[in-house]
């Protein structure tokens, strides 16, 4: 790069006015100030150029470095393995829950249905997955019927083997526990309330945390779905 020629300092044609000594001091201060400002602006510009644009979420947090999902032994609601490539090529919003949960699960899924409708064409790049932590009751058929009720891009996954369920939950950052009910079949499940965001490369990109608001989720997802 060629150095930019610096114009020579012009010498004032008139002799300095004795009464402007004050003026010259303030000019020096001004110069120091301008120099400091240029330095700050330069640093800010360097930082801006050095890091890719980061998306800040209003309903959750994105991981600094997305975490690739390991190979998981998950079952899709079509009865086939939910393998690595099924996570790829689109964003996924994973909601941990179970179908025998009449309050918070359908409430959250109904809210995600409203979000999906507001996303318009972008919604084609988003899959909503109910990750059932209750495979004892949630068969693939039951998950399919339940999730499709909320929309065509809603589906279910689970892991019928306890070890597989544990491994998948750990990988997704989901905690769950069975809580006995009044009768053997009326047990309930405690489960993580956060939604997990998986990017189109099959990596955990971040988490969305309650309380969920349609407007905030739509704004966040619009930016994510438009990002490369």
């Amino acid at each position: 790069m060629r150095p930019v020629p610096v114009p020579r300092q012009t010498v004032p044609s008139q002799p300095p006015d004795p009464v402007s000594a004050d003026d010259s001091a303030s000019r020096k201060i001004l110069l120091v100030f301008a120099g400091a400002l240029a330095l700050i602006l330069g640093l800010v510009a360097a930082l801006q150029l050095g890091t890719p644009a980061r998306i800040e979420l209003s309903s959750g947090t994105l991981l600094k470095t997305p975490r690739p999902l390991p190979e998981l032994r998950l079952l899709g609601d079509d009865g086939a393995a939910y393998e690595r490539q099924r996570w790829e090529g689109h964003w996924t919003l994973v909601f941990p829950g179970f179908t025998s949960c009449p309050d918070i699960c359908p409430t959250t899924l109904a809210l995600l249905k409203a979000v999906d409708a507001r996303l318009g064409e972008r919604a084609a790049r988003l899959q909503v997955l109910l990750f059932s932590v209750d495979p004892e009751r949630d068969t693939p058929e039951r998950l399919r019927d339940y999730t499709r009720y909320f929309g065509p891009r809603f589906a279910g996954i689970t892991a019928p083997q306890p070890d597989d369920l544990k491994q998948a939950a750990q990988a997704l950052g989901v905690a769950y526990a069975k809580v006995p009910g009044a009768t053997p079949d009326s047990y309930t499940m405690d489960h993580s309330a956060a939604l997990i965001l998986v990017n189109p490369r099959g990596e955990i990109a971040g988490y969305l945390t309650p309380p969920f608001q349609v407007d905030a989720l739509v704004a966040d997802l619009e930016r994510l779905l438009d990002s490369p």
Partner: protein, 141 residues
């Protein structure tokens, strides 16, 4: 372990918003339409205690359901939990709002198909008072 937590109670004694004085009343009652395959439903209602004394609601029944329990969803430490409170405390002149993501009636084993638009009749008992009201089945309020 039974947790008896007194519930959110706005004191609306003698308010103009329809509280019937002298008795227990139920308002804005609805049941979330069950997605296919769901074996339990959730009912929501606003209960108002128009009597001069505190009431404890601890039972509900309906010919349309096998069993009804009083539950409460809470989110604690990032976990969604359903607590079987089984009791709702209603102070004199106060109200309790059963709404999504909080207090609700857990409705087990629907005895007939309950599509959107249909009605189910529930009776809620609060101490010496009972209230019977029709709940509308709908996807959202």
């Amino acid at each position: 372990m039974k947790r008896l937590i007194p519930l959110l109670l706005l004191g609306v004694a003698g308010s103009a918003c329809g509280a019937e004085t002298g008795r227990l009343s139920a308002h804005d009652a609805w049941i979330r339409e069950a997605p296919p395959g769901a074996t339990a439903m959730a009912g929501y209602v606003v209960l108002r205690n128009g009597t001069g004394s505190a009431l404890r609601c601890d039972a509900a029944s309906s010919p349309d359901f096998g069993a009804i329990e009083l539950h409460r969803t809470v989110i604690e430490d990032g976990q969604s939990r359903m607590l079987r409170d089984q009791v709702i405390e209603l102070p004199a002149g106060g109200e309790a709002r059963l709404q999504p993501g909080g207090l609700h009636l857990m409705l087990f084993r629907p005895q007939r198909p309950l599509p959107t638009g249909s009605l189910a009749e529930l009776t809620i008992r609060c101490g010496s008072q009972t209230v019977t009201t029709r709940f509308r089945i709908q996807p959202q309020p």
